[in-house]
Symmetry: C3
Protein backbone atom coordinates (compact mmCIF):
# COMPACT_ATOMS: atom_id res chain seq x y z
CA UNK A 1 0.00 0.00 0.00
CA UNK A 2 2.49 2.65 1.15
CA UNK A 3 4.76 1.64 -1.72
CA UNK A 4 2.00 2.86 -4.03
CA UNK A 5 1.21 6.02 -2.11
CA UNK A 6 4.68 7.16 -1.13
CA UNK A 7 5.71 8.48 -4.57
CA UNK A 8 2.51 10.54 -4.73
CA UNK A 9 2.91 11.94 -1.24
CA UNK A 10 6.53 12.74 -2.01
CA UNK A 11 5.44 14.44 -5.23
CA UNK A 12 2.85 16.47 -3.32
CA UNK A 13 5.55 17.59 -0.88
CA UNK A 14 7.80 18.61 -3.77
CA UNK A 15 4.94 20.56 -5.39
CA UNK A 16 4.09 22.61 -2.28
CA UNK A 17 7.74 23.27 -1.40
CA UNK A 18 8.35 24.28 -5.03
CA UNK A 19 5.40 26.66 -4.74
CA UNK A 20 6.90 28.13 -1.55
CA UNK A 21 10.17 28.70 -3.42
CA UNK A 22 8.31 30.41 -6.26
CA UNK A 23 6.49 32.62 -3.74
CA UNK A 24 9.86 33.78 -2.45
CA UNK A 25 10.84 34.46 -6.08
CA UNK A 26 7.71 36.61 -6.39
CA UNK A 27 8.74 38.59 -3.28
CA UNK A 28 12.10 39.18 -5.00
CA UNK A 29 10.42 40.10 -8.32
CA UNK A 30 12.49 37.56 -10.27
CA UNK A 31 11.72 36.45 -13.86
CA UNK A 32 10.07 33.15 -14.86
CA UNK A 33 13.37 31.24 -15.01
CA UNK A 34 14.19 32.46 -11.51
CA UNK A 35 10.80 31.17 -10.32
CA UNK A 36 11.56 27.72 -11.79
CA UNK A 37 15.08 27.69 -10.33
CA UNK A 38 13.95 28.59 -6.79
CA UNK A 39 11.04 26.13 -7.13
CA UNK A 40 13.44 23.29 -8.02
CA UNK A 41 16.04 24.20 -5.39
CA UNK A 42 13.38 24.32 -2.66
CA UNK A 43 11.50 21.24 -3.84
CA UNK A 44 14.62 19.09 -4.32
CA UNK A 45 16.99 20.50 -1.67
CA UNK A 46 15.99 18.39 1.31
CA UNK A 47 15.74 15.10 -0.58
CA UNK A 48 19.01 15.81 -2.37
CA UNK A 49 20.90 16.27 0.91
CA UNK A 50 19.24 13.11 2.30
CA UNK A 51 20.37 11.11 -0.75
CA UNK A 52 23.91 12.56 -0.54
CA UNK A 53 24.25 11.79 3.18
CA UNK A 54 23.08 8.20 2.58
CA UNK A 55 25.33 7.81 -0.50
CA UNK A 56 22.24 7.19 -2.62
CA UNK A 57 23.50 8.62 -5.95
CA UNK A 58 22.74 9.73 -8.63
CA UNK A 59 20.25 11.70 -6.51
CA UNK A 60 16.55 11.03 -6.96
CA UNK A 61 15.59 13.86 -9.33
CA UNK A 62 18.26 12.90 -11.87
CA UNK A 63 16.38 9.60 -12.21
CA UNK A 64 12.86 11.08 -12.22
CA UNK A 65 11.94 13.54 -15.02
CA UNK A 66 8.30 13.62 -13.80
CA UNK A 67 9.47 15.13 -10.50
CA UNK A 68 11.36 17.89 -12.33
CA UNK A 69 8.24 18.52 -14.39
CA UNK A 70 6.08 18.89 -11.28
CA UNK A 71 8.46 21.35 -9.61
CA UNK A 72 8.84 23.43 -12.79
CA UNK A 73 5.06 23.46 -13.32
CA UNK A 74 4.47 24.59 -9.73
CA UNK A 75 7.00 27.38 -10.23
CA UNK A 76 5.38 28.57 -13.47
CA UNK A 77 1.87 28.33 -12.00
CA UNK A 78 2.90 30.64 -9.15
CA UNK A 79 4.52 33.01 -11.69
CA UNK A 80 1.15 33.46 -13.40
CA UNK A 81 -1.22 33.48 -10.42
CA UNK A 82 0.80 34.95 -7.53
CA UNK A 83 -0.58 38.46 -8.13
CA UNK A 84 -4.03 37.10 -7.25
CA UNK A 85 -2.88 35.90 -3.85
CA UNK A 86 -3.99 38.34 -1.16
CA UNK A 87 -1.03 37.72 1.16
CA UNK A 88 1.91 35.98 -0.43
CA UNK A 89 3.99 35.63 2.71
CA UNK A 90 1.08 33.91 4.47
CA UNK A 91 0.64 31.55 1.48
CA UNK A 92 4.38 30.85 1.60
CA UNK A 93 4.21 29.94 5.31
CA UNK A 94 1.35 27.48 4.73
CA UNK A 95 2.86 25.85 1.64
CA UNK A 96 6.07 25.47 3.63
CA UNK A 97 4.14 23.91 6.55
CA UNK A 98 2.48 21.27 4.35
CA UNK A 99 5.80 20.44 2.67
CA UNK A 100 7.53 20.26 6.06
CA UNK A 101 4.98 17.72 7.33
CA UNK A 102 5.06 15.49 4.25
CA UNK A 103 8.88 15.53 3.94
CA UNK A 104 9.58 14.92 7.64
CA UNK A 105 7.72 11.62 7.53
CA UNK A 106 8.58 10.61 3.94
CA UNK A 107 12.26 11.35 4.63
CA UNK A 108 12.22 9.14 7.73
CA UNK A 109 10.46 6.36 5.80
CA UNK A 110 13.00 6.47 2.95
CA UNK A 111 15.86 6.40 5.48
CA UNK A 112 14.34 3.37 7.26
CA UNK A 113 14.00 1.57 3.91
CA UNK A 114 17.66 2.38 3.15
CA UNK A 115 18.56 0.54 6.36
CA UNK A 116 19.16 3.52 8.68
CA UNK A 117 18.72 3.05 12.44
CA UNK A 118 15.51 4.55 13.91
CA UNK A 119 17.26 7.54 15.55
CA UNK A 120 19.10 8.24 12.28
CA UNK A 121 15.81 8.02 10.36
CA UNK A 122 14.33 10.74 12.60
CA UNK A 123 17.36 12.98 11.96
CA UNK A 124 17.19 12.39 8.21
CA UNK A 125 13.47 13.19 8.29
CA UNK A 126 14.25 16.53 9.93
CA UNK A 127 17.06 17.19 7.43
CA UNK A 128 14.81 16.37 4.47
CA UNK A 129 12.03 18.58 5.80
CA UNK A 130 14.07 21.64 6.71
CA UNK A 131 17.00 21.87 4.29
CA UNK A 132 15.05 22.87 1.16
CA UNK A 133 13.56 25.83 3.00
CA UNK A 134 16.92 26.80 4.46
CA UNK A 135 18.66 27.02 1.08
CA UNK A 136 15.60 28.77 -0.42
CA UNK A 137 15.93 31.48 2.23
CA UNK A 138 19.74 31.65 2.19
CA UNK A 139 20.01 31.96 -1.62
CA UNK A 140 17.33 34.62 -1.73
CA UNK A 141 18.64 36.64 1.22
CA UNK A 142 15.54 36.11 3.39
CA UNK A 143 15.67 35.46 7.14
CA UNK A 144 15.41 31.64 7.40
CA UNK A 145 12.09 30.45 8.84
CA UNK A 146 14.02 28.38 11.40
CA UNK A 147 15.26 31.65 12.94
CA UNK A 148 11.73 32.95 13.55
CA UNK A 149 10.06 32.55 16.90
CA UNK A 150 7.27 30.10 15.99
CA UNK A 151 7.88 26.35 16.49
CA UNK A 152 9.39 24.95 13.28
CA UNK A 153 12.15 22.32 13.59
CA UNK A 154 10.35 20.89 16.64
CA UNK A 155 7.25 20.17 14.54
CA UNK A 156 9.30 18.28 11.94
CA UNK A 157 11.10 16.31 14.68
CA UNK A 158 7.78 15.42 16.35
CA UNK A 159 6.28 14.20 13.07
CA UNK A 160 9.31 12.11 12.10
CA UNK A 161 9.77 10.70 15.62
CA UNK A 162 6.05 9.89 15.93
CA UNK A 163 6.09 7.98 12.64
CA UNK A 164 9.26 6.05 13.50
CA UNK A 165 8.09 5.15 17.02
CA UNK A 166 4.69 3.98 15.81
CA UNK A 167 6.19 1.75 13.10
CA UNK A 168 8.78 0.38 15.54
CA UNK A 169 5.92 -0.35 17.94
CA UNK A 170 4.35 -2.52 15.27
CA UNK A 171 1.68 -0.22 13.80
CA UNK A 172 1.04 -0.55 10.07
CA UNK A 173 3.00 2.00 8.10
CA UNK A 174 -0.02 3.64 6.44
CA UNK A 175 -1.72 4.90 9.62
CA UNK A 176 1.68 5.65 11.15
CA UNK A 177 2.51 7.81 8.11
CA UNK A 178 -0.81 9.65 8.35
CA UNK A 179 -0.44 10.22 12.11
CA UNK A 180 3.13 11.50 11.68
CA UNK A 181 2.13 13.98 8.98
CA UNK A 182 -0.90 15.21 10.95
CA UNK A 183 1.17 15.61 14.14
CA UNK A 184 3.69 17.84 12.38
CA UNK A 185 1.02 19.81 10.51
CA UNK A 186 -1.07 20.35 13.65
CA UNK A 187 1.86 21.63 15.70
CA UNK A 188 3.06 23.92 12.93
CA UNK A 189 -0.49 25.18 12.23
CA UNK A 190 -1.01 26.06 15.90
CA UNK A 191 2.39 27.76 15.91
CA UNK A 192 1.36 29.87 12.91
CA UNK A 193 -2.23 30.59 14.03
CA UNK A 194 -1.55 31.26 17.70
CA UNK A 195 2.11 32.31 17.54
CA UNK A 196 3.09 29.26 19.61
CA UNK A 197 6.73 29.09 20.50
CA UNK A 198 8.92 27.17 22.91
CA UNK A 199 10.59 29.07 25.74
CA UNK A 200 13.47 30.88 24.04
CA UNK A 201 16.82 31.67 25.47
CA UNK A 202 16.96 35.24 26.78
CA UNK A 203 20.24 37.00 27.32
CA UNK A 204 20.66 39.33 30.27
CA UNK A 205 19.54 42.71 28.97
CA UNK A 206 22.21 45.33 28.84
CA UNK A 207 25.07 42.93 29.39
CA UNK A 208 25.64 41.73 25.86
CA UNK A 209 27.81 43.75 23.53
CA UNK A 210 26.68 43.34 19.94
CA UNK A 211 30.04 42.34 18.60
CA UNK A 212 32.36 41.28 21.43
Amino acid sequence: MLEQWLPWLDMAGIAVFAASGALVASRKEMDAVGFVLLACVTGFGGGTLRDLLLGNTPVFWLRAPEVVGVAAAAGLLVFFIAHRVENRFRALLWADAVGLSLFAVAGAEIALEAGAAPWAAVLLGVVTATFGGIIRDVISNEVPLILRREIYVTAAAAGAAGFVMLTQAGLWREPAFALGVLTCLLIRALALLRGWSLPAYKGRPGREHPDR
Copy 2:
Protein backbone atom coordinates in the same frame (compact mmCIF):
# COMPACT_ATOMS: atom_id res chain seq x y z
CA MET B 1 39.22 16.18 -30.45
CA LEU B 2 36.91 17.39 -27.67
CA GLU B 3 38.57 14.87 -25.35
CA GLN B 4 41.78 16.85 -25.81
CA TRP B 5 40.21 20.29 -25.53
CA LEU B 6 37.71 19.71 -22.74
CA PRO B 7 40.25 19.68 -19.88
CA TRP B 8 41.68 22.98 -21.12
CA LEU B 9 38.28 24.60 -21.52
CA ASP B 10 37.32 23.35 -18.07
CA MET B 11 40.58 24.76 -16.69
CA ALA B 12 39.86 28.11 -18.38
CA GLY B 13 36.41 28.16 -16.74
CA ILE B 14 37.94 27.40 -13.35
CA ALA B 15 40.52 30.17 -13.81
CA VAL B 16 37.97 32.89 -14.64
CA PHE B 17 35.54 31.81 -11.91
CA ALA B 18 38.43 31.70 -9.45
CA ALA B 19 39.31 35.24 -10.53
CA SER B 20 35.71 36.32 -9.93
CA GLY B 21 35.90 34.85 -6.43
CA ALA B 22 39.15 36.69 -5.77
CA LEU B 23 37.56 39.93 -7.00
CA VAL B 24 34.83 39.48 -4.39
CA ALA B 25 37.61 38.91 -1.83
CA SER B 26 39.12 42.23 -2.92
CA ARG B 27 35.76 43.96 -2.38
CA LYS B 28 35.77 42.50 1.16
CA GLU B 29 39.42 43.51 1.73
CA MET B 30 40.43 39.98 2.74
CA ASP B 31 44.04 38.77 3.05
CA ALA B 32 45.90 36.59 0.50
CA VAL B 33 44.70 33.32 2.03
CA GLY B 34 41.13 34.57 1.86
CA PHE B 35 41.64 35.36 -1.86
CA VAL B 36 42.84 31.80 -2.49
CA LEU B 37 39.99 30.29 -0.45
CA LEU B 38 37.26 32.26 -2.28
CA ALA B 39 39.01 31.55 -5.60
CA CYS B 40 38.93 27.80 -4.93
CA VAL B 41 35.37 27.76 -3.59
CA THR B 42 34.10 29.67 -6.63
CA GLY B 43 36.18 27.77 -9.17
CA PHE B 44 35.37 24.31 -7.78
CA GLY B 45 31.86 24.84 -6.32
CA GLY B 46 29.77 24.06 -9.39
CA GLY B 47 31.80 21.06 -10.54
CA THR B 48 31.91 19.71 -6.99
CA LEU B 49 28.11 19.77 -6.69
CA ARG B 50 27.81 18.15 -10.14
CA ASP B 51 30.17 15.34 -9.09
CA LEU B 52 28.33 14.86 -5.78
CA LEU B 53 24.90 14.70 -7.45
CA LEU B 54 26.19 12.12 -9.96
CA GLY B 55 27.97 10.12 -7.22
CA ASN B 56 31.27 10.75 -9.00
CA THR B 57 33.61 10.73 -5.93
CA PRO B 58 36.26 11.57 -4.83
CA VAL B 59 35.34 14.85 -6.53
CA PHE B 60 37.43 16.04 -9.46
CA TRP B 61 39.78 18.50 -7.74
CA LEU B 62 40.93 15.89 -5.21
CA ARG B 63 42.28 13.96 -8.19
CA ALA B 64 43.75 16.96 -10.05
CA PRO B 65 46.48 18.99 -8.32
CA GLU B 66 47.02 21.07 -11.48
CA VAL B 67 43.45 22.38 -11.17
CA VAL B 68 44.05 23.46 -7.57
CA GLY B 69 47.24 25.17 -8.72
CA VAL B 70 45.39 27.11 -11.44
CA ALA B 71 42.69 28.32 -9.03
CA ALA B 72 45.22 29.32 -6.37
CA ALA B 73 47.37 31.11 -8.97
CA ALA B 74 44.34 33.03 -10.28
CA GLY B 75 43.49 34.06 -6.71
CA LEU B 76 47.02 35.28 -5.99
CA LEU B 77 47.26 37.08 -9.34
CA VAL B 78 44.13 39.05 -8.52
CA PHE B 79 45.53 39.80 -5.04
CA PHE B 80 48.51 41.52 -6.63
CA ILE B 81 46.87 43.26 -9.60
CA ALA B 82 43.30 44.04 -8.49
CA HIS B 83 44.23 47.58 -7.45
CA ARG B 84 45.05 48.30 -11.10
CA VAL B 85 41.58 47.33 -12.27
CA GLU B 86 39.50 50.44 -12.91
CA ASN B 87 36.16 48.87 -11.95
CA ARG B 88 36.42 45.65 -10.02
CA PHE B 89 32.68 44.89 -9.91
CA ARG B 90 32.53 45.19 -13.71
CA ALA B 91 35.54 42.87 -14.05
CA LEU B 92 33.82 40.44 -11.68
CA LEU B 93 30.65 40.42 -13.79
CA TRP B 94 32.59 39.66 -16.97
CA ALA B 95 34.80 36.96 -15.44
CA ASP B 96 31.62 35.41 -14.05
CA ALA B 97 29.98 35.58 -17.51
CA VAL B 98 32.84 33.76 -19.23
CA GLY B 99 32.93 31.11 -16.51
CA LEU B 100 29.16 30.71 -16.69
CA SER B 101 29.31 30.07 -20.45
CA LEU B 102 32.18 27.55 -20.29
CA PHE B 103 30.77 25.65 -17.31
CA ALA B 104 27.18 25.46 -18.59
CA VAL B 105 28.32 23.55 -21.68
CA ALA B 106 31.21 21.61 -20.10
CA GLY B 107 28.92 20.54 -17.24
CA ALA B 108 26.31 19.27 -19.69
CA GLU B 109 29.00 17.42 -21.68
CA ILE B 110 30.42 15.72 -18.56
CA ALA B 111 26.90 14.72 -17.49
CA LEU B 112 26.18 13.23 -20.94
CA GLU B 113 29.44 11.25 -20.76
CA ALA B 114 28.46 9.98 -17.30
CA GLY B 115 25.30 8.56 -18.90
CA ALA B 116 22.77 11.22 -17.83
CA ALA B 117 19.63 11.73 -19.95
CA PRO B 118 19.62 14.84 -22.17
CA TRP B 119 17.20 16.82 -19.94
CA ALA B 120 19.26 15.91 -16.87
CA ALA B 121 22.44 17.00 -18.66
CA VAL B 122 20.92 20.45 -19.25
CA LEU B 123 19.99 20.73 -15.56
CA LEU B 124 23.47 19.63 -14.47
CA GLY B 125 24.99 22.17 -16.87
CA VAL B 126 22.96 24.93 -15.21
CA VAL B 127 23.89 23.64 -11.73
CA THR B 128 27.61 23.50 -12.63
CA ALA B 129 27.49 27.00 -14.10
CA THR B 130 25.58 28.77 -11.35
CA PHE B 131 26.44 27.07 -8.05
CA GLY B 132 30.02 28.29 -7.70
CA GLY B 133 28.87 31.89 -8.01
CA ILE B 134 25.99 31.32 -5.59
CA ILE B 135 28.24 30.01 -2.80
CA ARG B 136 30.82 32.76 -3.56
CA ASP B 137 28.12 35.37 -2.98
CA VAL B 138 26.46 33.63 -0.01
CA ILE B 139 29.72 33.05 1.89
CA SER B 140 30.85 36.62 1.33
CA ASN B 141 27.51 38.24 2.17
CA GLU B 142 26.95 39.72 -1.31
CA VAL B 143 23.59 39.79 -3.09
CA PRO B 144 23.71 36.72 -5.39
CA LEU B 145 23.97 37.62 -9.09
CA ILE B 146 20.95 35.37 -9.77
CA LEU B 147 18.81 37.81 -7.75
CA ARG B 148 19.75 40.75 -9.95
CA ARG B 149 17.54 41.86 -12.78
CA GLU B 150 19.73 40.98 -15.78
CA ILE B 151 19.27 37.60 -17.50
CA TYR B 152 21.55 35.07 -15.79
CA VAL B 153 20.23 31.55 -15.24
CA THR B 154 18.41 31.78 -18.56
CA ALA B 155 21.69 32.32 -20.40
CA ALA B 156 23.22 29.23 -18.80
CA ALA B 157 20.11 27.17 -19.59
CA ALA B 158 20.15 28.36 -23.22
CA GLY B 159 23.82 27.47 -23.66
CA ALA B 160 23.49 24.02 -22.09
CA ALA B 161 20.24 23.24 -23.91
CA GLY B 162 21.66 24.45 -27.23
CA PHE B 163 24.71 22.21 -26.88
CA VAL B 164 22.66 19.15 -25.87
CA MET B 165 20.10 19.61 -28.64
CA LEU B 166 22.77 20.09 -31.31
CA THR B 167 24.66 16.95 -30.25
CA GLN B 168 21.42 14.96 -30.02
CA ALA B 169 20.60 16.20 -33.53
CA GLY B 170 23.83 14.65 -34.73
CA LEU B 171 26.16 17.65 -34.95
CA TRP B 172 29.80 17.03 -34.08
CA ARG B 173 30.53 17.84 -30.49
CA GLU B 174 33.23 20.43 -31.19
CA PRO B 175 31.06 22.93 -33.10
CA ALA B 176 28.13 22.14 -30.78
CA PHE B 177 30.35 23.00 -27.82
CA ALA B 178 31.48 26.26 -29.40
CA LEU B 179 27.92 27.26 -30.35
CA GLY B 180 26.64 26.51 -26.85
CA VAL B 181 29.33 28.60 -25.20
CA LEU B 182 28.83 31.49 -27.63
CA THR B 183 25.04 31.41 -27.16
CA CYS B 184 25.34 31.72 -23.40
CA LEU B 185 28.05 34.38 -23.59
CA LEU B 186 26.15 36.44 -26.17
CA ILE B 187 22.94 36.45 -24.14
CA ARG B 188 24.74 37.29 -20.92
CA ALA B 189 26.84 39.98 -22.62
CA LEU B 190 23.75 41.67 -24.04
CA ALA B 191 22.11 41.43 -20.61
CA LEU B 192 25.12 43.18 -19.07
CA LEU B 193 25.64 45.77 -21.82
CA ARG B 194 22.01 46.67 -22.46
CA GLY B 195 20.47 45.73 -19.11
CA TRP B 196 18.39 43.02 -20.82
CA SER B 197 16.00 41.23 -18.55
CA LEU B 198 13.01 38.95 -18.90
CA PRO B 199 9.60 40.23 -17.81
CA ALA B 200 9.75 40.03 -14.02
CA TYR B 201 6.92 39.32 -11.67
CA LYS B 202 5.47 42.52 -10.21
CA GLY B 203 3.41 42.50 -7.03
CA ARG B 204 0.44 44.80 -6.71
CA PRO B 205 1.86 47.97 -5.22
CA GLY B 206 0.62 48.84 -1.78
CA ARG B 207 -0.98 45.48 -1.17
CA GLU B 208 1.99 43.53 0.07
CA HIS B 209 2.99 43.73 3.72
CA PRO B 210 6.72 43.31 4.08
CA ASP B 211 6.52 40.53 6.64
CA ARG B 212 3.03 39.01 6.69
Copy 3:
Protein backbone atom coordinates in the same frame (compact mmCIF):
# COMPACT_ATOMS: atom_id res chain seq x y z
CA MET C 1 48.11 4.93 19.81
CA LEU C 2 46.56 7.59 17.57
CA GLU C 3 43.91 5.06 16.55
CA GLN C 4 42.79 5.08 20.17
CA TRP C 5 42.99 8.82 20.68
CA LEU C 6 41.65 10.06 17.35
CA PRO C 7 37.96 9.32 18.06
CA TRP C 8 38.22 11.19 21.38
CA LEU C 9 39.97 14.18 19.83
CA ASP C 10 37.39 14.21 17.05
CA MET C 11 34.61 14.03 19.65
CA ALA C 12 36.20 16.93 21.56
CA GLY C 13 36.28 18.97 18.35
CA ILE C 14 32.62 18.19 17.70
CA ALA C 15 31.70 19.18 21.27
CA VAL C 16 33.38 22.60 21.14
CA PHE C 17 32.11 23.38 17.62
CA ALA C 18 28.63 22.30 18.74
CA ALA C 19 28.96 24.67 21.70
CA SER C 20 29.96 27.48 19.32
CA GLY C 21 26.83 26.78 17.26
CA ALA C 22 24.67 26.86 20.38
CA LEU C 23 26.27 30.18 21.40
CA VAL C 24 25.17 31.62 18.05
CA ALA C 25 21.69 30.22 18.80
CA SER C 26 21.77 32.11 22.10
CA ARG C 27 22.66 35.34 20.27
CA LYS C 28 19.58 34.74 18.08
CA GLU C 29 17.40 33.88 21.11
CA MET C 30 16.28 30.56 19.61
CA ASP C 31 14.50 27.79 21.55
CA ALA C 32 16.12 24.57 22.84
CA VAL C 33 15.49 22.65 19.60
CA GLY C 34 17.14 25.46 17.66
CA PHE C 35 20.16 25.21 19.97
CA VAL C 36 20.45 21.46 19.26
CA LEU C 37 20.00 21.97 15.51
CA LEU C 38 22.70 24.66 15.24
CA ALA C 39 24.95 22.58 17.53
CA CYS C 40 24.63 19.55 15.23
CA VAL C 41 25.01 21.54 11.99
CA THR C 42 28.16 23.24 13.29
CA GLY C 43 29.63 20.11 14.88
CA PHE C 44 28.97 17.84 11.90
CA GLY C 45 29.19 20.27 8.96
CA GLY C 46 32.91 20.09 8.23
CA GLY C 47 33.24 16.34 8.64
CA THR C 48 30.10 15.79 6.57
CA LEU C 49 31.50 17.78 3.64
CA ARG C 50 34.84 15.93 3.97
CA ASP C 51 33.04 12.55 3.85
CA LEU C 52 30.92 13.66 0.87
CA LEU C 53 33.95 14.93 -1.09
CA LEU C 54 35.78 11.64 -0.46
CA GLY C 55 32.68 9.55 -1.28
CA ASN C 56 32.77 8.11 2.23
CA THR C 57 29.00 7.50 2.71
CA PRO C 58 26.80 7.11 4.69
CA VAL C 59 28.50 10.04 6.41
CA PHE C 60 30.12 9.48 9.80
CA TRP C 61 27.38 10.72 12.14
CA LEU C 62 24.78 8.40 10.60
CA ARG C 63 26.99 5.53 11.82
CA ALA C 64 27.81 7.03 15.24
CA PRO C 65 24.91 7.71 17.64
CA GLU C 66 27.37 8.64 20.41
CA VAL C 67 28.58 11.59 18.31
CA VAL C 68 25.02 12.86 17.86
CA GLY C 69 24.52 12.51 21.62
CA VAL C 70 27.62 14.58 22.34
CA ALA C 71 26.60 17.40 19.98
CA ALA C 72 23.03 17.48 21.31
CA ALA C 73 24.28 17.46 24.91
CA ALA C 74 26.67 20.35 24.19
CA GLY C 75 23.79 22.29 22.63
CA LEU C 76 21.49 21.71 25.64
CA LEU C 77 24.26 22.51 28.11
CA VAL C 78 24.79 25.89 26.46
CA PHE C 79 21.01 26.47 26.47
CA PHE C 80 20.99 26.17 30.27
CA ILE C 81 24.26 27.92 31.17
CA ALA C 82 24.79 30.55 28.46
CA HIS C 83 23.21 33.29 30.57
CA ARG C 84 26.05 32.83 33.06
CA VAL C 85 28.70 33.50 30.41
CA GLU C 86 29.99 37.04 30.76
CA ASN C 87 30.72 37.57 27.06
CA ARG C 88 29.10 35.05 24.77
CA PHE C 89 30.69 36.28 21.55
CA ARG C 90 34.14 35.93 23.14
CA ALA C 91 33.27 32.38 24.30
CA LEU C 92 32.08 31.60 20.78
CA LEU C 93 35.37 32.79 19.27
CA TRP C 94 37.40 30.58 21.62
CA ALA C 95 35.25 27.47 21.22
CA ASP C 96 35.52 27.99 17.47
CA ALA C 97 39.31 28.33 17.74
CA VAL C 98 39.72 25.04 19.64
CA GLY C 99 37.41 23.22 17.21
CA LEU C 100 39.27 24.75 14.25
CA SER C 101 42.61 23.43 15.54
CA LEU C 102 41.37 19.91 16.31
CA PHE C 103 39.44 19.53 13.04
CA ALA C 104 42.20 20.91 10.79
CA VAL C 105 44.58 18.16 11.90
CA ALA C 106 42.00 15.38 12.41
CA GLY C 107 40.52 16.11 8.98
CA ALA C 108 43.97 15.89 7.35
CA GLU C 109 44.68 12.63 9.21
CA ILE C 110 41.37 11.05 8.11
CA ALA C 111 42.03 12.13 4.51
CA LEU C 112 45.54 10.59 4.60
CA GLU C 113 44.08 7.33 5.93
CA ALA C 114 41.49 7.37 3.12
CA GLY C 115 44.42 7.45 0.67
CA ALA C 116 44.40 11.14 -0.27
CA ALA C 117 47.63 12.74 -1.50
CA PRO C 118 49.42 15.00 1.03
CA TRP C 119 48.38 18.28 -0.66
CA ALA C 120 44.77 17.04 -0.83
CA ALA C 121 44.90 16.07 2.85
CA VAL C 122 45.88 19.64 3.74
CA LEU C 123 42.96 21.02 1.70
CA LEU C 124 40.53 18.55 3.27
CA GLY C 125 41.82 19.52 6.72
CA VAL C 126 41.05 23.17 5.95
CA VAL C 127 37.62 22.25 4.56
CA THR C 128 36.80 20.13 7.64
CA ALA C 129 37.92 22.88 9.99
CA THR C 130 36.19 25.84 8.36
CA PHE C 131 32.98 24.56 6.77
CA GLY C 132 31.00 23.90 9.96
CA GLY C 133 31.56 27.46 11.10
CA ILE C 134 30.70 28.84 7.65
CA ILE C 135 27.29 27.13 7.52
CA ARG C 136 26.65 28.04 11.18
CA ASP C 137 27.15 31.69 10.30
CA VAL C 138 25.36 31.59 6.93
CA ILE C 139 22.24 29.83 8.29
CA SER C 140 22.01 32.21 11.23
CA ASN C 141 22.63 35.38 9.22
CA GLU C 142 25.88 36.28 11.01
CA VAL C 143 28.97 37.68 9.26
CA PRO C 144 31.17 34.58 8.68
CA LEU C 145 34.29 34.55 10.87
CA ILE C 146 36.38 34.00 7.72
CA LEU C 147 35.37 37.51 6.57
CA ARG C 148 36.73 39.15 9.72
CA ARG C 149 40.17 40.68 9.83
CA GLU C 150 41.94 38.29 12.23
CA ILE C 151 43.90 35.35 10.78
CA TYR C 152 41.54 32.38 10.48
CA VAL C 153 41.86 30.14 7.41
CA THR C 154 45.62 30.64 7.52
CA ALA C 155 45.78 29.14 11.02
CA ALA C 156 43.87 26.04 9.89
CA ALA C 157 46.10 25.69 6.82
CA ALA C 158 49.25 26.02 8.94
CA GLY C 159 48.07 23.36 11.40
CA ALA C 160 47.04 20.89 8.71
CA ALA C 161 50.18 21.50 6.61
CA GLY C 162 52.43 21.21 9.67
CA PHE C 163 50.92 17.87 10.63
CA VAL C 164 51.11 16.47 7.08
CA MET C 165 54.71 17.63 6.54
CA LEU C 166 55.88 16.23 9.88
CA THR C 167 54.30 12.81 9.22
CA GLN C 168 55.67 12.77 5.66
CA ALA C 169 59.09 13.58 7.12
CA GLY C 170 58.83 10.44 9.22
CA LEU C 171 57.80 11.81 12.64
CA TRP C 172 55.44 9.62 14.67
CA ARG C 173 51.86 10.61 14.16
CA GLU C 174 51.11 11.35 17.82
CA PRO C 175 53.62 14.19 18.29
CA ALA C 176 52.89 15.41 14.75
CA PHE C 177 49.20 15.59 15.64
CA ALA C 178 49.89 17.51 18.83
CA LEU C 179 52.27 19.94 17.09
CA GLY C 180 49.76 20.56 14.29
CA VAL C 181 46.94 21.32 16.73
CA LEU C 182 49.14 23.59 18.87
CA THR C 183 50.42 25.47 15.79
CA CYS C 184 46.88 26.27 14.65
CA LEU C 185 45.68 27.14 18.15
CA LEU C 186 48.68 29.37 18.85
CA ILE C 187 48.30 31.33 15.62
CA ARG C 188 44.56 31.75 16.10
CA ALA C 189 44.98 32.68 19.79
CA LEU C 190 47.52 35.39 18.93
CA ALA C 191 45.17 36.62 16.19
CA LEU C 192 42.34 36.89 18.72
CA LEU C 193 44.39 38.34 21.59
CA ARG C 194 46.50 40.79 19.62
CA GLY C 195 44.26 41.35 16.59
CA TRP C 196 46.89 39.78 14.32
CA SER C 197 46.05 39.86 10.67
CA LEU C 198 47.83 39.34 7.37
CA PRO C 199 48.27 42.32 5.06
CA ALA C 200 44.84 42.75 3.51
CA TYR C 201 44.04 43.96 0.07
CA LYS C 202 43.16 47.67 0.04
CA GLY C 203 41.25 49.25 -2.79
CA ARG C 204 42.15 52.73 -3.94
CA PRO C 205 39.96 54.99 -1.83
CA GLY C 206 37.38 56.96 -3.75
CA ARG C 207 37.80 54.99 -6.95
CA GLU C 208 35.50 52.09 -6.25
CA HIS C 209 31.77 52.43 -6.89
CA PRO C 210 29.82 50.29 -4.45
CA ASP C 211 27.77 48.50 -7.06
CA ARG C 212 29.31 48.95 -10.50
